[in-house]
């Protein structure tokens, strides 16, 4: 195993049991690595198993086969997981797609942001200063502390979710389609925010999306998933310049290009 890889996913498979005899293979033999301080993009259409990968990494699902090494620890083994539970829970954080359902509607923003630290320390709420700093980091001022999630817009809520994830100074952030439910203009803001935060804090970042243009802008390396398989993987530039798999080509062809002339040509080709 390479020394500088933080997360190492090896031959990961996961099946869902539908009825007695029916099973669906959501992910099938997926392997990839994320290095320290790297942004890794995972793209694919809905139902291709991206979220399942993310949830396996976060120990929400237990994979049927394969192993995930985080800092060299095989986290899918119950024993190892229990031994390192606290470290794992603090250094990995997740950001969900739907900010409306990922924030408890009955908690104030300050409580939401403070939640991980509170669970971690086991004591009461951390100081207001701390929370204020976290909120500032994601571009929200202190006036939001007393508000409830329903008073915020989608983009603001997602910022709160990011602030919550960052509050424990994590080393790996898994973001499951964090921008998919936002407007395009807000999406760009969020991606810029991710980029800025990643530069400042240096965490590794697994970015899951189905929007290729954002991935191209943000990620160092990219994997393409199709029907539960990782069909292509490599540096983002290489993939976008020379896609090898048919599916990647099709995906790329579907990306709108902000130039009407090229866009029109593309239409004729297909």
């Amino acid at each position: 195993m390479e020394n500088n890889s933080l997360l190492d996913v090896q031959h990961l498979s996961h099946m869902f049991h539908l009825k007695r005899k029916m099973t669906v293979k959501a992910i099938d033999d997926v392997s990839f690595q994320i290095k320290k301080g790297e942004i890794y993009g995972l793209v694919g259409e809905s139902g291709s198993g991206k979220s399942t990968v993310a949830r396996c990494i976060m120990n929400i699902y237990k994979p049927s086969e394969g192993e995930i090494f985080y800092k060299g620890i095989p986290i899918c083994k119950n024993k190892e997981f229990r031994k390192n539970r606290k470290m794992l829970q603090m250094t990995r954080q997740m950001i969900f797609q739907d900010s409306a359902s990922s924030l408890n509607p009955r908690m104030k923003i300050e409580d939401i942001v403070a939640e991980p630290l509170r669970i971690y320390s086991g004591k009461g709420r951390p100081g207001k200063k701390e929370i204020e700093k976290q909120l500032e980091l994601v571009g929200l001022d202190r006036s939001y502390m007393e508000k409830y999630p329903c008073e915020l817009s989608g983009g603001q809520r997602q910022r709160v979710a990011i602030a919550r994830a960052l509050s424990t100074k994590p080393e790996l952030i898994v973001a499951d389609e964090p921008i998919a439910s936002l407007d395009v203009s807000i999406q760009a803001q969020m991606v810029n925010l991710f980029r800025k935060l990643q530069k400042e804090q240096g965490f590794s970042f697994l970015f899951i999306a189905h929007d290729l243009s954002m991935v191209e802008f943000l990620c160092d390396r990219t994997g393409v998933m199709y029907h539960g398989k990782l069909v292509e993987e490599g540096r983002t530039k290489d993939i976008f310049a020379h896609p090898e798999h048919e599916y990647t080509k099709a995906l790329l062809a579907a990306v709108p290009i902000p130039d009407p002339r090229i866009e029109r040509q593309k239409g004729e080709v297909l």
Partner: protein, 296 residues
């Protein structure tokens, strides 16, 4: 610009005709009469020392089965005790049992419902089947059975027995709510952060399902009070010496023979009025809840 818009929009004279809906303030929906009566009864029971004219447990053997008069406002029972004093003193026991039993059953229901809601499919199935079976056994039978095992009843054992036999329907509601809530990503997020079962229950689940069980909880107080009085009446609840509305009524068989209506009617009326007040408050809670849901 505004002129143009008004021409195609709703005509102003039509709009004015619409009667503005009477605004309901929060206090309009509360059944004040019930609340006030309930406060009076509860207050009377709490401060019974001030109200009582006689010692409720003193047996005045000279004046037994006396109809209501000036000295004995509500008359005396077949053992010569003053009913007026007993009502307030005994109300304490009845109300205490109602509340204590409800606290116990709600506690069990919350734990059981949440466990079942968060559990994997097969365990959930098993737990819910068990609940349904328990639910279908007539409550009274289980209580009689348990009471027979525990032996002679006192206020606490009776609350306990009533509590552990009446949690099932609340647990079922909680389980359904939790099943929906647990799909929310904030619950998953809290689990990822390492929040334990009780942390998630306290912080994320309970605040979200409490409103939907409030009605059931209030109704549970009611049924617990009914059950206490029924059991005491049959003779397996509180014994005669422990004064409660139920045990007061257990003298009624003797009262029937002598035609002493006050022994039967007066404690019963207090019982029924209390239950009615609780019911109307519960109904008010339910209506509020329905309103909230339909607004969403």
């Amino acid at each position: 610009m505004s002129d143009l818009f008004e021409m195609v929009g709703v005509k102003p004279e039509l709009a004015e005709q619409q009667v503005p809906e009477k605004e309901n303030r929060w206090y309009d929906t509360i059944p004040w009469l019930s609340v006030i009566i309930l406060i009076l009864i509860v207050g009377g029971c709490l401060f019974c020392n001030r109200i009582m004219t006689k010692d409720p447990s003193y047996m005045d053997l000279k004046n037994y089965t006396i109809a209501p008069c000036k000295e004995f406002l509500f008359g005396t029972d077949t053992m010569g005790r003053d009913i007026f004093s007993m009502i307030w003193y005994g109300g304490r026991q009845s109300l205490f049992i109602g509340i204590a039993a409800t606290v116990i059953s709600t506690g069990i229901a919350i734990i059981f419902g949440t466990v079942s809601g968060m559990a994997p499919e097969w365990l959930d199935m098993l737990l819910m089947r068990a609940t349904e079976i328990l639910l279908s056994i007539p409550n009274l039978l289980t209580v009689i059975f348990l009471q027979a095992i525990l032996g002679k009843a006192n206020v606490f054992s009776l609350s306990f027995v009533i509590g552990i036999t009446s949690w099932m329907s609340i647990a079922k509601i909680i389980r359904t709510e939790v099943r929906q809530l647990r799909n929310n990503e904030y619950v998953i997020a809290a689990r990822c952060m390492g929040g334990g079962f009780f942390y998630i229950l306290y912080k994320h689940l309970a605040p979200n399902f409490l409103s939907s069980i409030m009605f059931m909880v209030v109704m549970n107080i009611r049924s617990a009070i009914v059950e206490e009085s029924t059991l005491s009446f049959i003779g397996i609840g509180l014994p005669l010496e422990v004064i409660s509305w139920g045990s007061m009524l257990s003298l009624s068989e003797k009262a029937l023979l002598t035609g002493a209506w006050w022994i039967i009617l007066i404690p019963g009326v207090f019982l029924v009025v209390t239950l009615l007040c609780i019911t109307s408050i519960g109904d008010c809670i339910r209506k509020k809840l329905n309103k909230q849901e339909s607004n969403l």
